[in-house]
């Protein structure tokens, strides 16, 4: 499912779905940000903005404002929690500092743990049922757990 390139964590690769329909978009297209191509997040500047992306062998900087308008899907079935509405999922990646992780751990969410999504933003873990805000949900990455 689609998400913004700006929400893809550093180190991950994503496939481009669309770029904005304006001058910035034209520039991006010519630099290789073409629907269907993959793009990797290389690093971020102080304060998390802008970030460096690798597309077709070149490193290109983009501000989150621009990256937000590029829609992508993260590869191999990974989704941010904010995109998921139901089913059993495994937590594979968390984007945030120690406090963030600490807080999630207290709710029973940690890398490797399995969670059940009840509805959009509502998660059932072994510690109970929690409502998770959109800001946080964007930073929790899941993969469908079929087992």
């Amino acid at each position: 499912m689609a998400m913004s390139l700006s929400d893809v964590p550093v180190g991950f690769e994503a496939k481009i779905i669309s770029v904005p329909d304006d001058d910035v978009g034209s520039r991006l297209l010519s630099m290789g940000f073409v629907p269907g191509n993959s793009v990797k997040v290389i690093s971020c500047a102080p304060l998390g903005d802008p970030r460096v992306y690798m597309v077709m062998g070149k490193m290109v900087t983009l501000r989150n404002d621009e990256a937000k308008r590029i829609l992508v899907s993260v590869e191999n079935g990974m989704e941010p929690l904010s995109n998921v509405t139901d089913g059993i999922w495994r937590v594979v990646h968390l984007v945030g500092g120690r406090n963030f992780r600490e807080k999630l751990r207290s709710m029973g969410i940690d890398i490797g743990s399995t969670v059940k999504i009840v509805s959009k933003g509502v998660v059932e873990t072994n510690r109970g049922v929690f409502r998770i805000g959109l800001g946080m949900a964007r930073r929790i990455f899941l993969r469908r757990d079929d087992a």
């Binding site: 010519s30 630099m31 500047a45 102080p46």
Partner: protein, 643 residues
């Protein structure tokens, strides 16, 4: 036969390096996107032909989104060179091939050059030139601008291509896209002619504003909206390119491990900015303190020469002209040549290694809060060398508003010509922490440029923000030749200035000081001008001598030093001893702050005028003078509290 050749390609693929290799001309090159800001021409004779070669600014596509790109594109469209050499980077060819496909749609005679083949080889990449040529249907040459490999092949290839038939090598889009192109082309034909109709149709579908506007009379909406197939067309071109690349490159190892490792430190989330500041500090320290003994030696030599002249020739007008006017004026400036060369050398290292775009990246967030981008920051950094190229480099900024703001703010960044003034003042009033004081001025000048951007954004343009899409080139070890060339070319400019504008101004100044009474400089014409100016500058406590220096310093900042050199050039005492009575430390500091900010030199003003028009040149004068005044006054007031 005369053959007109255009070199084009993405920023940073080595166009300027190749241009130099082809023409033997000494055009400076940089590892920094967007450094070629003007169209540069050079001539080369080869096997009885005369090649006129043009180095175009870097561009990713012909859908020009910045002034740089417009320059490149208009050149290709309207000057129609005989041969277009499209340069691609051997390590990431795709974007270069994209540009090639677009240029082929113009039905130009094109050659593909795959440059930096030395680096490709090092990485174990094997590029099959025949295969590339077979798929693209254009001649392909592999070159290294660094080692000179393939340059002769390229010259031969240009000559042979120029004499071939102009042929249509068109890339065929998918059936659906082609159908739409042909429908449009049929409608457009009447207006733009048969030959160009396909190109116009494609550009219309890509949403090129220039083309859409030109076709606005026609009713094309029934076939397609402008920009309808923007993504689709790009996708189809890149699909084609990826196939070709797969066929013609062996042993792909797209590793950038080295660059990534260095980047991990230099653009680090937390230490990126401290590292940047530390590097700048080290650089300035080197330029000011390490090299200082050389400058001291030169200064001694010139004052010695002046004394010698006086001793040999005896007192008189000619003696005074030589000793006070020329040796005092030009000599005072020349003494700073070592510092300026050192500064350029260091800037050269930063540019050539690829660090500067990273600095822009690291600082972008700060610039963002000023509604600018890291791209303007690069122009600011370039301003440490000289404001003129810095103003010109703003052409690469896509956003018009951001560009104007940058042009008006760049002159605040302290250029090397202002350095002699700081060094002179700092060595006298702050001899113990000279390095710190000078560095503080440099930092302050960067702040001034930023504050200025903020002020302009708040007043002239409300609210908008710039964008920041910049390619980070891979790190390269700066080549000594390149560095020496850079230092020499920029430094030479300074020497030329010393020999021309500063020489002449020194003579004029000398005359204004010598007459009407050689024995009393306080009654001279120069002093009268200075006294008039000092009325305005009185709140800053700049006396008539400082005012005179500032007045003449508008032509070129070094002249401030020359003026002091002449004003105080009485026998026995050196300039240093005399100057120390001119200011107290607070005034001295507010003086250099004023010098840092006030009115751009003539050369810069001329550049601003040619870039943005007279209106903005005038704005720049008034604006920078007010800014200088406010800053200097602030220093006075803050200094007054502590003193």
């Amino acid at each position: 036969m005369t053959i007109r050749v255009a070199l084009c390609g993405n920023p940073n693929v080595g166009k300027t390096s190749l241009f130099n290799a082809l023409t033997g001309m000494r055009q400076y090159v940089a590892n920094w996107p967007g450094v070629t800001v003007e169209v540069k021409e050079g001539v080369r004779s080869w096997r009885g032909h005369q090649l006129i070669i043009t180095d175009l600014p870097g561009t990713y596509s012909l859908l020009a989104t910045s002034l740089d790109e417009k320059i490149a594109r208009d050149f290709l469209l309207y000057k129609t060179p005989d041969v277009v050499v499209v340069i691609a980077d051997a390590l990431s060819m795709e974007q270069g091939l994209y540009l090639l496909l677009e240029i082929l749609e113009l039905e130009a005679r094109a050659i593909l050059v795959v440059n930096a083949i030395d680096e490709a080889r090092q990485k174990g990449l094997v590029i099959d030139r025949q295969e590339l040529s077979k798929h693209l249907k254009v001649p392909v040459v592999l070159t290294s601008a660094l080692t000179g490999e393939g340059i002769q092949d390229l010259l031969d290839c240009i000559v042979s291509t120029a004499s071939t038939e102009q042929k249509r090598v068109l890339f065929n889009f998918s059936d659906k896209t082609e159908k739409m192109i042909q429908q449009l082309a049929a409608l457009i034909k009447a207006q733009v002619g048969e030959a160009a109709s396909r190109w116009f149709a494609i550009k219309y579908l890509e949403g090129d504003p220039h083309v859409v506007e030109r076709l606005s009379q026609l009713v094309l909406k029934s076939v397609a909206k402008p920009g309808n197939l923007k993504s689709q067309i790009a996708r189809e071109r890149y699909d084609h390119i990826q196939l070709i690349v797969k066929e013609s490159i062996m042993a792909i190892s797209k590793e950038l491990s080295m660059s990534e490792a260095i980047d991990h430190v230099l653009t680090h989330k937390f230490i990126g900015i401290p590292i940047f500041l530390a590097l700048m500090y080290l650089a300035f320290n080197f330029a000011f303190e390490t090299v200082q003994p050389l400058s001291d030696f030169l200064e001694g030599t010139f004052s010695h020469l002046a004394e010698l002249t006086k001793a040999r020739l005896g007192e008189g007008m000619v003696t005074s002209m030589i000793a006070d006017g020329i040796l005092g004026g030009v000599g005072a400036v020349l003494a700073f040549v070592p510092n300026i060369f050192a500064l350029f050398f260091l800037l050269g290292i930063m540019e050539d290694s690829g660090y500067l775009p990273r600095a822009a990246f690291v600082m972008d967030r700060v610039m963002y809060s000023l509604k600018l981008s890291g791209r303007s920051f690069m122009s600011f950094l370039l301003g440490f060398g000289c404001s003129v190229p810095a103003v010109l480099s703003t052409r690469g900024i896509p956003d018009v508003r951001e560009r104007i703001v940058s042009v008006l703010s760049v002159p605040f960044v302290s250029c090397s010509a202002r350095l002699p003034v700081y060094l002179l003042i700092a060595s006298i009033f702050f001899s113990r922490n000279q390095g710190v004081v000078v560095f503080s001025i440099y930092v302050l000048s960067m702040f001034a440029a930023m504050i200025s951007s903020l002020v302009l954004n708040r007043t002239l343009f409300k609210g908008q923000k710039g964008i920041f899409v910049l390619e980070l080139p891979r790190y390269r070890l700066p080549s000594f030749r390149n560095l020496a060339l850079y230092t020499w070319l920029r430094g030479k400019h300074f020497l030329v200035k010393a020999g021309t504008i500063i020489f002449i101004s020194s003579l004029v100044l000398w005359a204004l000081m010598y007459f009407p009474d050689p024995n009393d400089v306080t009654r001279s014409f120069a002093a009268q001008i200075g006294k008039a100016v000092s009325l305005v500058l009185r709140p800053l406590k700049f006396d008539w001598r400082a005012s005179t220096a500032l007045f003449f310093g508008v032509a070129a900042k070094e002249i401030i030093v020359s003026t002091f050199g002449m004003l105080f050039n009485t026998q026995g005492e050196t300039l240093t001893e005399q100057l120390s009575q001119l200011f107290d430390p607070v005034t001295a500091y507010s003086f250099i702050v004023f010098v840092m900010a006030y009115i751009p030199c003539f050369a810069t003003l001329a550049t601003i005028k040619s870039e943005l028009g007279t209106k903005y040149a005038v704005i720049s004068v008034i604006y920078s003078f007010s800014m200088a005044y406010v800053l200097a006054l602030a220093v006075r007031m803050i200094g007054g509290i502590f003193a």
